[in-house]
């Protein structure tokens, strides 16, 4: 049985569709992620799961119980769903330990204190227990917000852009830490972010949202290698779409002719930088129009003879092409990915 299930969820404000027909399912202990540019509806979907938005149609179940449906709307405070907010939303009038203990209303005092102590140790902030939120750094506040949300052992944890207000360095390390922590707690969680790296670091399953639609709900690998939508193909990783035509199991494009198992028609061919190699014997000719240093390699932008621009990697010690230099390339593409026009 899945821990969380969304069936055909749509959300609208008046006539504006925010989410259309989103469905997904998550197993217990899995970490999911809603990934998308701002305004794609990812936060709204998350808030609908939390209970702060009411879907116009569809059904949400948590651990087998329907928490939102046509005529059911369980109040947020009764859903046992924890949430970490973008601004952390720490209670400014409470100390760190009181913040963490806020959701622990029931049970014996001893148990509550033990739980707080456990979480403080887990986030390594034991010595700050008596301090107030404003006395702590952003990263520390973030961890407290997480501990606070985890304290009542929710059935699901939602994280709304949890790292967006932190600096890049803290962000990456913290994302890994948080994943480890969630795994240790065997917490089912959903993260909302616009940052792919964060998504890849944290999540087992990622849903890409675009224009109010949940385009694909899959693992990172599948999203990269088997994107089901042109938007995902270019959004995840680097890559461009080349116009191409398929005729009788052959695909014709600026890259020449390749075999493909696909019906005939005009399509877009996904070309990622790793598909192209610098090769003096290569049949594809291009001019270097841009060059970006990436540590162990360069990412080149190349304009092909018929005007399209593609990208290709080259190791530092391999090729040194200057701007406006003419180069030759070859293609290596085992299973071309195309999208019908």
């Amino acid at each position: 049985m899945s821990q969380l299930q969304l069936q055909d969820i749509s959300i609208a404000y008046g006539s504006t569709q925010i989410i259309q027909h989103a469905s997904l399912s998550m197993q217990a202990g899995e970490i999911g992620c809603f990934l998308g540019a701002s305004g794609c509806g990812k936060t709204t979907l998350l808030r609908a799961i939390a209970g702060f938005e009411t879907p116009t149609s569809g059904q949400i179940s948590l651990a087998g119980n329907v928490i939102s449906a046509e005529k059911t709307h369980i109040a947020p405070e009764k859903r046992h769903i924890g949430m970490v907010f973008q601004d952390f939303a720490l209670f400014p009038h409470l100390t760190i330990e009181d913040n963490i203990g806020f959701g622990l209303q029931k049970g014996r005092k001893k148990d509550r204190l033990a739980r707080i102590q456990y979480l403080l140790e887990m986030i390594e902030l034991t010595e700050y227990a008596k301090q107030y939120p404003h006395q702590l750094s952003g990263g520390q506040q973030q961890r407290i917000a997480l501990a606070r949300a985890l304290a009542p052992k929710p059935q699901l944890l939602l994280l709304d852009e949890p790292f967006s207000s932190l600096d890049t360095e803290t962000r990456t390390t913290l994302a890994a830490d948080v994943r480890q922590l969630l795994k240790k707690e065997q917490m089912t969680a959903i993260l909302v972010t616009h940052d792919q790296n964060e998504a890849f670091t944290m999540a087992d399953q990622i849903g890409v949202l675009h224009n109010a639609k949940l385009l694909q709900w899959d693992s990172c690998y599948e999203l990269y290698h088997q994107p089901k939508h042109a938007y995902i193909a270019t959004f995840i990783g680097e890559g461009i779409l080349l116009p191409a035509t398929i005729k009788q199991r052959n695909i014709y494009s600026a890259l020449g002719e390749m075999g493909i198992d696909h019906e005939d028609g005009d399509v877009d061919l996904l070309v990622r930088p790793e598909h192209l190699q610098f090769n003096p014997q290569g049949s594809i000719k291009g001019v270097v129009t841009g060059k970006r240093f990436q540590g162990h390699e360069y990412l080149y932008q190349l304009e092909l003879t018929d005007g399209v621009t593609v990208e290709a990697h080259a190791a530092i010690d391999q090729i040194h092409a200057e701007l406006d230099e003419h180069v030759c390339l070859s293609v290596r593409m085992n299973d071309p990915i195309v999208f019908s026009r």
Partner: protein
Amino acid sequence: MRFSLSLLVLIIILPILVILAYLFTPSSAVWQHLYDTVLGTYVTQSAILMVGVGFGSLVLGITSAWLTTLCDFPLRRFFTWSLLLPMAIPAYIIAYTYTGFLDFAGPVQTVLRELFNWSYGDYWFPEVRSLTGAVIMLSLVLYPYVYLLARSAFLSQADSVLEASQSLGLSPWQSFKRVSLPLARPAIIAGLSLVMMETLADFGTVQYFGVDTFTTGIYRTWFGLDENSAAGQLSAILLIFVFTLMILERWSRQQARYHQTSQRVQHSKRYTLKSGSLFSALLFCSLLLLFSFLIPVILLSHWAWLTMDQAFDTEFLTLAGNSLLLAAITAITVVSIAVLLGYGLRIYKQKNFAFLVRLSTLGYATPGVVVAVGVMIPLSWIDHRVDAFMDATFGISTGLLLSGTIFILIFAYTVRFMSVALQSVESGLSKVRPSLDQAAQTLGCQPRQVLTRIHIPIMQGSLLTALLIVFVDVMKELPATLILRPFNFNTLAIRAYELASDERLMEAASSALAIVATGLIPVLILSYSISKQARS
């Protein structure tokens, strides 16, 4: 919860609805008479009064707030709290004192005449009891509302914003005009709207000064001419006017809703004033304090001293006790309701409910006499119905359960001062980010618990402010108290009024002084909390 809140709002706006209902009664013949004779005067005098007092309190309030928050000069700390003191003086009392002080037969003019051997007509002296006089009197005691709100707005502006403006080459004056002032605009407008409402509702001052405003006109039509429906219609027109103003005010605030972009709010740095500007700042603050507080209080003290033997009797203590008790009960009631309504507005984002709540704040701009009538009509109606019902079913006559009791008085105050409390509560609530509510909810809090565990503790400061402002306002309130109070229940304001209106200003001084003194307690607490907040 939603239902009972709506019911609560309906009860509070009942008197206002009663007044508005007069619009639907047939207009009486007296309208033509009013229109031909006095209506034009009422409208123009009220308009001039509002514009004048609005302008006056803006200038005084903003300047003093800016000087005491963003500049540094000797005695700044002292002025920070002392400039709030005039809040404790009711407008009618400052009017009494300045009249006694500056009138033709008053000490100032008499001394002038004796010094220069002038007699009447030889010299020009401004007339206190005039429209201009009323504008000045009201500005002197109402500017603290602007001061208070502008001050806290200036304080909440981050240093970095001001530093940025300085680094962009703005002088203190320019950065005030182009950064501080626009950022503080919503708060200033809120303060201004309080001032406007107080001005419109003022009865004591304008009546004493013989300035015919809409308010005195309503009173005259209602009680003097005994033309209920015409007076009710005049009141309704006033209410509609106020409501339009309120909507404009909210609209303008929504146009300019700024959020702090930086968290760092410390005022380590202030502009250090030198020579000329230092002198002007000191002079401005000193004169303001002198005219708005020191002169009236010294005069009142002097008069109270002269009449001391008769003034401070045992009854005086009873009066003071009544005033304090009434003010305390009302403050707690009003603020509790305001918290419920403010929170209701926050969680039920429903247009209808919001409209009703807006309507409930109309009472503040409604003259006390109008509120009194608006309260009296429905409550005595209810009393009569309840009695008829009880009589018919159980054979018991219940008589007047609500009218003529403390309850009706507190009800009237609630109608009258809801706006003050709600403004404060809403501004407090707006500082609590919505994510805090949601965080608390995801941690299992019911809406009610969110209120008690999150909002109330966080907005303690705003609640204290609300409590104090309502408290002081009730202490000062006169017309409704006069009309509605039960037997043997007098307050300091009533005694002061009775003596002053009997032209016994000197005898009135002790009670007036006591109102000012009791009013000072909360104002001082407020000042203290402000100076503490400024330090921490």
